[in-house]
Every structure is written in structure tokens, then in C-alpha cells.
């Protein structure tokens, strides 16, 4: 047994884990992006189908390799995304996700932030690969939530070096 923590999820996490909303690969996605790494045991793919004219989401979905709160966070995020404009979707924070989930256990907040990181990546990708008119509201620098995702990926690289023989 390794070094455990109690993870008393709020009921909402379990509900979404049991019946994830907007789960699955999206064949006709306009754009998709991945965050996390298998080494950390946490990957999320966010798929977005986007209305290019209104620059708003038509539908979103996710896939997840990760723990219950990872799955629930991604699902909760897609629910929050709904049909928001990309500008509005960009503004969703991990705190909002965590709050909707009844507050994630402290050590699990990175799950919420990973999902948000994935979404922002997808939005950036949309504006760099699909719709090349980068809007004013899209910051040049990466945001805190994106940084979290990057940090986790960097940690994974480190772990890989350390542990894979």
C-alpha cells in the first residue's frame, strides 16, 4: 500500500462518473485537444464542434483516461460549455468546474484544471489552425489553468525518466 489519502468526493462527482454527460469521441469535431499524460495517469481530450460564423460551440465532448474526478471534471466542463461562444468558454475557470462538482478534494483540483487546460488548448488550436483570425480577447501568454496542465505534463516527463528502466 502506498501513501494514501482519503478522497471523499462530493456526490456530484460520483453521479457524473457513473453517468458521464457528453462522453465520447466526436467524429465531426471542428477541433480537439489533449491535456495531461499517461505517466501521470491523467489525460483528457476535449472535442469541440464550432459554428465558425458565431464563433460559438455547437457541441462538445470528452474522453478521459483518469480517475473519477478527472472524468467528472471533463464531463462537467462540457456541460458548462453548452453552446457558449468561444470567448465565453475561454473564461470558464477550474474553480467553476470544481464548485459545480461540490468542490473537489484539494489534492484533486488539478483534475478540474486539466480539463480547463484542454479546453483552452482546443480554442487556441481553433484560432491557429482553423479560423486564423486570432481574436483580441485571446491572450498571448498562457493562462494559469493552461500552465497547470503543462506542469503536469512536465512532471510526467520527469517521472518517465526516473522510473522507466
Amino acid at each position: 500500500m502506498s501513501s494514501r489519502i482519503p478522497l471523499p468526493y462530493a456526490p456530484r462527482v460520483l453521479e457524473l462518473f457513473r453517468n458521464p454527460q457528453n462522453l465520447g469521441h466526436m467524429k465531426d469535431a471542428t477541433v480537439s485537444a489533449t491535456a495531461g499524460s499517461p505517466a501521470c495517469g491523467d489525460i483528457i481530450i476535449i472535442y469541440l464542434k464550432i459554428n465558425d460564423e458565431t464563433e460559438s460551440v455547437i457541441k462538445s465532448s470528452f474522453e478521459s483516461y483518469g480517475c473519477a474526478s478527472n472524468i467528472a471534471s471533463a464531463s462537467q466542463l462540457t456541460i458548462l460549455i453548452g453552446k457558449l461562444t468561444l470567448k465565453e468558454a475561454w473564461e470558464i475557470t477550474w474553480k467553476q468546474v470544481s464548485d459545480k462538482l461540490g468542490k473537489l478534494p484539494k489534492i484533486k483540483t488539478h483534475c478540474g484544471s486539466l480539463a480547463v487546460g484542454g479546453l483552452r488548448r482546443a480554442i487556441r488550436k481553433y484560432y491557429s489552425e482553423v479560423n486564423k483570425k486570432k481574436p483580441d480577447w485571446l491572450p498571448e501568454e498562457i493562462t494559469k489553468d493552461e500552465k497547470h496542465a503543462l506542469e503536469e505534463e512536465a512532471l510526467a516527463e520527469k517521472m518517465k525518466k526516473k522510473y522507466v528502466l
Binding site: 500500500m1 502506498s2 462530493a10 460520483l14 499517461p38 481530450i45 483516461y65 480517475c67 478527472n70 489534492i107
Partner: protein
């Protein structure tokens, strides 16, 4: 997190049609017989302090002497060579910290890379006092590398700690050979074996082994928690790691508590009277479960050795492409209780040091699933699990979908 929410969480979780408990590594009930053995000592007998000169004290002392001897016999030791402690964690710490006080010159402690954290952390905590830990690597099956052990021994080596069986992947370690190597090199190097996971699973004869210290556990044989043991070889004068009034037990002041001792002794009686029977039973279930899962579910890897090199009670497999925490939760909702070495279940968000030590990639470690078998598990439970887990794995894998690992 409010406690109220845990209640709601449990309501959302619900209960499956059947409960199959395999998480004996992390928590256990006691046998009914064990409970019955404890009962009178909570309520009517043996409540006297065995160090006090009156009838109630002497009654406790008599009981204490008889029961402790039963426990000592189970490892072929004398009663005086067995210290009662509160936990295996404490036993391991007493052995580690104790030796540093016995010999203040030597500063190196060798441990296998798959030791329990209560050994590894106990040693690391002595860093300030100049104690250095060196880990001995293990094979892909978790077997300690004896050549490297031999190489690392030197005149600065204080102690070697090697568990008898690994608690996570069931590797039976070559403790006898390791002791010979160590003592051949230098009689003064102490040897400790944490036998918590081995106790009651394989024969343990500490006298014959010529081991200096050995940790045994009550809860691992379905006795109560909060009592454990530390064997200390004749002639070694260990000191306790904390202080109190002297009572009957010396290494842990004020540890002797007759109800728990009664439970421990009864668990010993059951486990060792039916030693062969129990281990044949769990071995049968182990293989049925382990190979059954491998047959019915794709991409399953066994962690640790197979056959007679593996503890008879240990099933540990990795379901590739599944994250372990989601797995334990999904299986919990189906009534199957186990644990995982996944990073997501750990405080430091790192996968089990044992799985990485045997060369599992993190993503393999994350999908690990540990089940243990005791005399209380049944074939029916194993059948239910073999029917149910494929669905569990399927669902988890379906959430992962197209993510490539």
C-alpha cells in the same frame, strides 16, 4: 469537505447485489472466533494490569504469559524474544531506530527497493543523524538482487532490511540466502525482515533463520489491528523508541492490552492450525482469479511472480488502458473492493514505488489492481468477480475511448 456529503456520496454510490471484499491489505474485519475470544477481556476478565500485585493483575499476567507464548510459537520463538507493539509500522521503526542506537559507528542501512514505506521512511527520517539509505534493486518479479546486496555490504553497513513477502506483488524474497550472505560477510550487521505480509502464508522459523529482528502482524491474519509483534534475537538489547513507565512489555511502554492480545492469539491459533488448508484454499482462488482475469479480459498483465514464488494470497494485475482509481471505484459500485497502486490514490500523486521498482511504466502501474485472499473469501466470490470485472474494465476503457497511451 463536510461529513454530510460523505453520507450523500454513499447514497449516490448505492450497494451492489453482492459484496466481495479483497482489500485485506488495507483493512480487515476479525474472525467471529477472534471476536468471541476478545469479548470477555473487554468486559469481565484480564482487565487488571499484569504488573500489579493483586488477583486481577495476576489473572491478567497468567493470561498474558500463556497467550503470548502461543504467538511466539508461531515463529518458533521464545516469549521473551517477542515484543508486543501497536502496529507493524511501529515494529519496523523500533528495529530501524533501535539498531542505530546499538551501534553508533555504522551509518548505512540497506533495504530492498520494494520494502514497505514504514521501513523506507523510518530509515530516511534518520538522515539528520547521518544515516544513509541504499536501496537494492529487484528483478521484474520483485526479487531482490543478491549480488548487488553482497556488493554493497561494507564495514559501514549497520543493517539490512528485507521483507519476507512483498505486500503488493506477492514476491517471496530469498531471506534465508540474504541472511547467509550478510552474516558471512560480517556477523555484526543486523538483519531485519518485515514479515507482516508473509506471516501465516509461508512457514517462518525466526530461530532457524538466524534473523535479528522480525515484524509480524495480527491484522494480516484477521486478528485485531493495534497490536503487532517484533521478534528480537536473544542477546540483543533493543531500546524503545519512546518512553513511559516500565510495565510488562518494555519496547512499547503500556502496550499490553488483554482483549487485543486475546484476539491476536486466537487469530494465530486459527491461522496456524489450518495453515495448509488455508493456504491451499487461497492459492486455488488466487490462480483461478488471476488467470481467469487474464483469460477473459484483454491486455491484462500480472504484477509479480507466479506459481510457488508468489504469496498464496496475492493477486495483482494491471489492466492496461485503465486508470486504477476509476477502476477501484467502478468495481466498488459492483461490490468488488480492492486497491490500486495508481498515482491518483496516493498523496503525492506518484504511482506505487513497488510497481515502478519492478520496471512497470507509470501507465502500467496506474492500471494495477490488488486483491488479496483470506480464509474468509469463497469460490463464489471469485466467480462473481470473474463475471463482473470484465464489464467494469469495459466501461472504464470505454471512457478512455481513443486516447492512446
Amino acid at each position: 469537505m463536510e461529513m454530510k456529503s460523505v453520507k450523500e456520496l454513499l447514497e449516490v454510490h448505492g450497494k451492489a447485489e453482492k459484496d466481495c471484499y479483497f482489500d485485506w491489505e488495507n483493512g480487515s474485519i476479525v474472525d467471529v472466533e477472534v471476536f468471541n475470544a476478545m469479548k470477555p477481556f473487554f468486559l469481565e476478565k484480564g482487565y487488571g494490569n499484569p504488573a500489579i500485585t493483586h488477583r486481577i493483575g495476576w489473572e491478567s499476567y497468567e493470561f498474558y504469559g500463556i497467550e503470548k507464548e502461543k504467538i511466539a510459537n508461531s515463529i518458533n520463538a521464545d516469549s521473551v524474544n517477542l515484543a508486543l507493539t501497536f502496529s507493524s509500522t511501529e515494529s519496523n521503526n523500533i528495529a530501524v531506530i533501535g539498531t542505530t542506537r546499538l551501534d553508533k559507528k555504522r551509518k548505512k542501512i540497506l533495504v530492498s527497493s520494494v520494502e514497505h514505506l514504514s521501513v523506507i521512511h523510518a530509515v530516511k527520517a534518520l538522515y539528520d543523524q547521518g544515516i544513509k539509505i541504499e536501496t537494492i534493486p529487484v528483478s521484474h518479479n520483485g526479487v531482490v538482487n543478491l549480488d548487488i546486496l553482497q556488493e554493497k555490504l561494507d564495514e559501514n553497513t549497520l543493517m539490512v532490511s528485507l521483507q519476507s513477502i512483498n505486500h503488493e506483488i506477492g514476491t517471496i524474497q530469498p531471506v534465508k540466502e540474504a541472511i547467509e550472505i550478510v552474516k558471512d560477510k560480517d556477523e555484526d550487521i543486523y538483519f531485519h525482515t518485515d514479515a507482516s505480509a508473509a506471516y501465516g502464508r509461508i512457514p517462518l522459523d525466526f530461530l532457524d533463520l538466524n534473523v535479528d529482528f522480525g515484524t509480524i502482524s495480527s491484522q494480516k491474519i484477521l486478528g485485531p489491528k493495534s497490536i503487532a509483534g517484533l521478534y528480537v534475537k536473544d542477546g540483543i538489547k533493543l531500546k524503545s523508541i519512546y518512553e513511559g513507565q516500565l510495565s510488562v512489555e518494555i519496547l512499547s511502554p503500556d502496550v499490553e492490552y488483554m482483549p487485543l492480545l486475546a484476539g491476536f492469539a486466537k487469530a494465530v491459533e486459527i491461522q496456524f492450525n489450518k495453515f495448509k488448508e488455508i493456504n491451499e484454499h487461497t492459492l486455488k482462488l488466487r490462480d483461478k482469479l488471476m488467470y481467469g482475469l487474464q483469460t477473459t479480459i484483454p491486455r491484462v498483465e500480472i504484477n509479480g511472480p507466479e506459481g510457488h514464488h508468489r504469496a498464496p494470497d496475492n493477486v495483482n494485475v494491471s489492466f492496461l488502458g485503465c486508470e486504477g482509481e476509476a477502476l477501484t471505484l467502478e468495481s466498488s459500485m459492483s461490490g468488488i473492493f480492492a486497491s490500486s497502486g495508481s498515482a491518483c490514490t496516493s498523496r503525492i500523486l506518484m504511482p506505487s514505488h513497488i510497481l515502478t521498482a519492478i520496471g512497470r511504466k507509470p501507465e502500467e502501474a496506474h492500471g494495477s489492481f490488488l486483491m488479496k485472499l483470506t480464509r474468509l473469501n469463497t469460490e463464489e466470490e471469485v466467480n462473481y468477480t470473474l463475471e463482473t470485472l470484465p464489464k467494469v474494465i469495459n466501461r472504464i476503457r470505454s471512457i478512455t475511448g481513443g486516447i492512446e497511451l
